[in-house]
Amino acid sequence: MQGISFRRSSVAGLPAGSGSALPALLLVGLFFIMPVVALLLRSVTDPEPGLQNYATLFGSGTYVRVFLNTFLVASVVTAVTILVAFPVAWMLAIMPPAMGSIVFGIIVLSMWTNLLTRTYAWMVLLQRTGVINRALMGLGIIHEPLPLINNLAGVTIGMVYIMLPFMILPLVGTLRAIDPMTLRAAALCGASPFEAFRRILLPLSLPGVAAGGLMVFVMSLGYFVTPALLGGTSNMMLAEMIAQTVQSLLNWGLGSAAAFVLLVVTMALYAIQLRLVGARRAGGGI
């Protein structure tokens, strides 16, 4: 015990201890927990008590396909994001700061730019007569415009674009925490750059890759805007299906059941992600 603690003595002013979290707790309890719980109850009470909403959800080929497609898109997006983000994070971790800060600036600019703006840009860029198709045709690489929008390709490009910063930024931290001397030691031990990457750099950055990848996967699972605008009707994702079921079909029971499934999967994966990050901290920044 050092010094004198005035922790409990605050009567006026900013309260301390547990009390000052009360407004936040009240707000979140009243307008977050309660509505979400009410929604979940609705999945087993609307239109009548029972599990019929879940039966519909898992019994119908249409909905099962939505689930599968959601996992497929999230997996593809996560895999591509990791593959693209790793080399960038690697360079950002060791680049001269002057060069690195330009790339960081671009990452932040893209991250802070309005989500709809970015998605809109991709809609225009990827359309049949869009710049990308024109450029590819102009270069003679293709002769017919590629279908780049309203399908898996469109969703993947748009989602990877949005997820990249969320993968790159934490990964830079992981890679910076690795002592460059370790890699020098590996080289002197006779490891070629490939061997050093495979046996040292990759294993050492794996916790960061796993944590970031899981975060991207979780975010992708529940993403609404980008899949709705860049995806096709044949590969609808869960979030869009939930919104449609409630908004257009006014089927609250079914929508709530789907929302519950999404919530359970998301929270479970989030818990695993917290474990990963926590374990990494306990392991001394490895």
Partner: protein
């Protein structure tokens, strides 16, 4: 040697090239949309056949766009203010409190950031339909405050964790009341965290689409809802003009943030 920039050899050429390509990929849509907004083609042909300010004139001449922008600004400002104040109080408790379940409380307050927005959107929409807050400014502000709260709590707790409490105690020993000590010593010390919290929670509301789509009414819609509607209808160049203004705003915000941070951290 894989982590020695100078000693990567040909690998460095490849990796730097790749990084530059990714940076270009990240920059491409932003630059593209700004260029397009000045193009004269109604069909968004690129490169544009000519340059024009027509889309900006249409945008600024349309009261529904102006209304939507003002609504967004009003809601975002209120949500950000509430989130920062409530978040500040919560942060004191999360950092300084010594009660059981502190970590659980932190997890709970941060959940709105993790839960898929669409789940929260239909939940709060259903709730507000029942209590008559759907389609109202109050409803919007409440929902957006919840979504913004984690973005306020994270930077403030981080700043507070980095602040040595014994400095505050020293002020109290010098005769300041605990309230004065916090107001005059602690708050100024964590001002960068508070400032970040304000920016992030403002952006969280300003850019929010999903809840807004559900909550919007014909008489109350935010800018993202207006853009969303236009996107679903057609790819009008007016959206490009609106988007470019948003990009400009982001850019200004980034510069102001960088400058203020530099000034505040002195």
């Amino acid at each position: 040697m894989l982590l020695d920039y100078e000693r990567l050899g040909w690998l460095r050429v490849a990796l730097v090239g790749f990084t530059a390509a990714v940076a270009a990929f990240l920059l491409l849509p932003v630059v593209f949309i700004v260029l397009l907004s000045f193009g004269s083609s109604r069909w968004l042909a690129f490169p544009p056949p000519g340059w024009t300010l027509r889309w900006y004139q249409q945008l600024l001449g349309d009261p529904t766009w102006i209304d939507a922008a003002l609504t967004s600004a009003r809601i975002a400002a209120m949500a950000a203010m509430l989130a920062v104040i409530i978040g500040l109080f919560a942060a004191f408790s999360l950092v300084r409190g010594e009660f059981r379940g502190r970590q659980v409380l932190r997890g709970l307050l941060l959940t709105p950031m993790v839960l898929p927005v669409v789940v929260f959107a239909i939940a709060i929409y259903a709730f507000f339909l029942r209590i008559g807050l759907a389609g109202t400014t109050v409803g919007f502000v409440i929902a957006h405050t919840i979504l913004a709260l984690p973005f306020a709590i994270i930077p403030i707790t981080a700043a507070l964790e980095g602040f040595d409490k014994s400095i505050e105690d020293a002020a109290i020993v010098c005769g300041a009341s605990p309230f004065q000590a916090r107001l005059r010593i602690t708050l100024p010390s964590i001002r960068i965290g508070i400032f970040s919290a304000a920016i992030f929670s403002f952006l969280a509301s300003w850019d929010e689409v999903v809840v807004a789509i559900f909550m919007a009414s014909p008489t109350l819609q935010t800018l993202p809802v207006k853009i969303w509607g236009s996107l679903r209808a057609d790819l009008s160049p007016v959206v490009a003009a609106a988007s470019s203004l948003l990009v400009g705003l982001t850019f200004c915000l980034m510069i102001v943030t960088a400058l203020l941070r530099r000034k505040l951290s002195r």
